[in-house]
């Protein structure tokens, strides 16, 4: 319980970005293009199928990120972050394209989260390279 809380307090934004991805992803997977007017507008005929697929991928990415973060498994966190990056940037671009000026608020927030995912990937990969480069056997 306390360990769980420690992780939350250490990674409030990472946790919430993943939770948002899971919630939005599940909504997209269930509702299809009803989840976003911008997506429905911009994707036209294929919107419903694409929104379902996007939702599934997004929710899986968020879940991988969350599990990886809380179990200290970057082998799950990194793929999760990449899929979340895809999901957030897809949403950002489609909502901005579909709603134009009216989609800027949602587009900005999700673009920022996509950039955050990329930065976190870079950070973790740099640490991993550093550990591997140090030739350590896992001990400091």
């Amino acid at each position: 319980m306390t360990l769980w809380r420690d992780r939350l307090y250490a990674n409030p934004f990472g946790t919430m970005a993943a939770v948002a991805a899971i919630v939005l992803g599940i909504l997209g997977a269930v509702l299809g293009d009803d989840v976003s007017r911008g997506m429905a507008n911009s994707l036209a005929n294929s919107a419903d199928v694409v929104a379902h697929l996007w939702g599934v991928a997004f929710a899986v990415g968020g879940a991988l990120k969350l599990i990886g973060l809380y179990r200290h498994r970057t082998t799950m966190e990194i793929p999760g972050l990449w899929v979340m990056f895809g999901g957030y940037s897809f949403y950002s671009l489609t909502v901005t394209t579909g709603l134009q000026v009216h989609g800027l608020a949602a587009g900005t927030i999700s673009a920022a989260l996509a950039v955050g995912c990329l930065l976190k990937v870079r950070l973790i990969m740099r640490q991993a390279r550093w550990v591997a480069g140090a030739g350590g056997d896992g001990t400091v």
């Binding site: 200290h72 498994r73 999760g80 990449w82 895809g86 901005t96 996509a114 550990v131 400091v140």
Partner: protein
């Protein structure tokens, strides 16, 4: 004039969006398949650091607990000694009081005797 251009731009943006989501999935799969050993090494290190830190904290707390126990024992011993000392003092004072009371009775009797003697001499 503006219509086709806007259409084209939106199509490009949608294409980028699709590339982004596909690329994200591909990159995730690549990271998992090619960088797994590096990432596992990082996880092991993080875990060992976490376990090491937890160990240090536990040892520190145990030492502090031991110190606190010793200090508490010393305090209670000192308290017991002080209590015994105070009890002894009280007993001593009680004895003193009863001795003084007896002396007082004797002194009063002496005064009474002297008074009656003087009255006898005067009369």
């Amino acid at each position: 004039m503006l219509g086709p251009v806007a259409m084209e731009l939106s199509e490009i943006l949608i294409a980028i969006a699709q590339v982004a989501v596909g690329g994200g999935i591909v990159q995730g799969a690549l990271a998992w398949s090619r960088r797994r050993s590096e990432l596992r090494q990082l996880d092991r290190q993080t875990d060992s650091v976490a376990v090491g830190a937890a160990d240090t904290v536990v040892t520190m707390l145990r030492t502090e607990l031991q110190d606190a126990k010793v200090a508490a024992e010393e305090t209670s011993k000192r308290n017991a000694a002080e209590q015994a000392d105070l009890r002894r003092q009280i007993q001593h004072l009680g004895e003193e009081v009863s001795r003084l009371r007896a002396d007082l009775v004797i002194a009063r009797a002496e005064i009474a005797r002297l008074k009656s003697d003087r009255e006898g001499e005067l009369s």
